[in-house]
């Protein structure tokens, strides 16, 4: 039915980012219920599920984006390399340096392409122009955008097409050399060709980064991810290797979703 990438035999990947019994509340609304998930280093973990199931809410908890939402509360712990990012000593600025995010709709700053890419390093203190130029080129190459923009780095980022803007946002995130990249439906606002470019990119990014991707497309999850977690009504119903989830789901709800009975 679907083509799934095979998980390398014998290679588990470290437990890079581990969520343990996480609850997320918006005021009194209990959005995420007792979610636990291990996201493995240098692999892609996909979060799938029907609309409103909480997968984006869970993703945002992973880099403390709920800190911005008044009335939002996160309980439980999320450990990056063993340290709880919600602990008393944890600094959100440092955490967001190590965990980057790409949003559903491309959100480049109304600045030049160059200024967009070096924004991250700049706000964390990098001032050396040569070093910034180097970081910008490396990041744009990693995002497969360098050849298209290298002659117009000083033009506005808003002049790029949607697919290019999204790759720019990915470049912006990788310019900081994070360890984890979170992607919230990164290709849902793009056409099929741009989408496949982004999917190819994800495969390349995995060589260096840990990727967690929310997607409403099961085909996409099957194409790009190594592990998949199925969310429903705020709970994680089932977790497994992508291969297993799509061919031999253990839970009935998972099977119903996969086969299209709802969602």
């Amino acid at each position: 039915m679907f083509q799934t990438p095979s998980v390398p035999v014998g290679e588990e990947g470290s437990a890079k980012l581990v969520a343990e019994h996480v609850d997320v509340y918006y005021g009194t609304f209990h959005a995420i219920k007792d979610a636990s998930l291990t996201m493995r280093g240098q692999h892609v973990t996909a979060l799938i599920g029907p609309s409103g199931c909480g997968k984006s809410t869970f993703l945002r908890a992973l880099d403390r984006m709920h800190d911005l939402t008044p009335g939002a509360r996160v309980e439980g712990c999320i450990k990056l390399d063993g340290e709880d990012i919600y602990g008393p000593d944890a600094d959100p600025v440092v955490i967001r340096h190590r965990i980057g995010m790409v949003f559903q709709r491309p959100n480049p700053f109304p600045k030049t392409i160059y200024e967009n890419v070096v924004y991250g390093p700049r706000i964390h203190g990098e001032r050396n122009k040569a070093r910034l130029d180097e970081l910008a080129e490396r990041a744009l190459r990693q995002a497969a955008l360098w050849d298209e923009v290298k002659d117009r780095l000083n033009r506005s980022a808003l002049d790029l097409s949607g697919g290019q803007q999204q790759r720019l946002c990915i470049a912006r995130a990788v310019a900081l050399n994070p360890e984890v990249i979170l992607m919230d439906e990164p290709a849902s606002a793009l056409d099929p060709i741009a989408t496949s470019k982004i999917e190819d990119l994800i495969g390349q990014l995995t060589e260096q980064y840990t990727v967690v991707i929310v997607t409403h497309s099961m085909q996409q999850a099957a194409r790009v991810s190594d592990y998949t977690a199925f969310f429903h009504l705020g709970e994680i119903v089932e977790v497994g290797s992508t291969n297993q989830i799509f061919t031999h789901p253990k839970e009935k709800r998972t099977e119903d979703y996969i086969t299209g009975r709802f969602g």
């Binding site: 440092v94 967001r96 949003f103 959100n107 600045k111 706000i123 900081l176």
Partner: protein
């Protein structure tokens, strides 16, 4: 497809207009014409006004008028020091107004959560904005001229005008910041930016065009202010030197001079001075409005690479 019968006129065409359709199309066209006429009338009114003022005041436009000293009782007075005072008070007022209004605007828009404090600040600002300028002038008279014993001063005038213009500039700041989408703020925070970094590096640069337009429009209003300045900055120019840099000098502005000339003055050439002053004032304010757009666009381009 048009049936063969319609060629002989026996049946209505399938794509031609019926009477009902014609009536609707006419109403549409009529509305378009009426609205267009209303819009044009604005241009016509402005043109008529400007042309008439040009006609009245052009005769007074001589170097001795624009740069000369005013006269108390004889003909031939000029408006040099008054123009200087208008700019002096403008700059001084902006020096006080911009830091306070922009900071308050940033606080209300970016930091304050909806609640009692925010509501009180916004209500206070709105109330301040509705105070008539002449009442504010009286307040300035009582505080700066009498209680502080300053007499009539440029500083007193500037402080009074600050009170008058703070709410407007704060509102402009808030709206300019509010027009920046939250997705940009999210993007900055997701990269590890602090709130202050997000504001100074992403939000303000995106908003600077609108804020500048707001500042220049307020500058136009300050330049033309009369009631508040009559009571605080006075009706005469400095006794020390006509172009006195001391903020405590008596500072009759061009707008106030215009009022004074036509109501109190005893010089024989009131018409010439009045019309000339009015024309200069009008030109200055129009120039402010034009430069508001030019500077606003230039700053937006400089900071964001786009012209809006």
């Amino acid at each position: 497809m048009i049936s063969a019968a319609s060629a002989s006129g026996a049946m209505p065409s399938a794509i031609g207009a019926t009477r009902g359709v014609r009536r609707r199309r006419f109403a549409d066209a009529l509305a378009t014409v009426v609205l267009w006429t209303m819009a044009c009338s604005i241009i016509v009114m402005l043109a008529a006004f400007v042309l008439y003022m040009l006609y009245l005041g052009a005769g007074a436009m001589t170097p001795s008028f624009i740069f000369g000293q005013p006269k108390e009782t004889t003909a031939g007075g000029g408006i040099g020091p008054e123009i200087y005072n208008s700019f002096y008070i403008l700059v001084l007022t902006l020096l006080f107004t911009i830091p306070i209004a922009v900071s308050a605007g940033i606080y209300l828009q970016e930091y304050a959560r909806p609640g009692l404090f925010r509501t009180i600040v916004q209500f206070s600002a709105e109330s301040l904005a509705t105070v008539p300028s002449i009442v504010m002038g009286l307040f300035g008279l009582l505080i700066f001229v009498y209680t502080f014993h300053w007499g009539f001063t440029a500083l007193g005038g500037a402080l009074t005008l600050t009170l008058l213009n703070l709410p407007a500039l704060m509102r402009v700041t808030q709206e300019a910041l509010g027009s920046v989408p939250d997705t940009l703020r999210e993007g900055s925070v997701a990269l590890g930016g602090t709130r202050w970094q997000t504001i100074t590096r992403v939000v303000l640069p995106s908003a600077i065009g609108r804020m500048t337009t707001g500042v220049v429009l307020i500058a136009g209003r300050i330049f033309g202010e009369t009631a508040a300045l009559i009571f605080t900055a006075g009706l005469s120019v400095s006794v020390n030197a006509p172009y006195d840099p001391n903020p405590f000098h008596t500072a009759e502005t061009l707008a106030v001079h215009l009022w004074y000339t036509r109501s109190e003055s005893v010089v024989p050439d009131v018409y010439r001075i009045g019309n000339g002053s009015a024309l200069v004032l009008l030109i200055m304010v129009l120039l402010f409005n034009v430069s508001a757009r030019v500077v606003g666009r230039a700053l937006t381009k400089r900071f964001t690479g786009r012209t809006s």
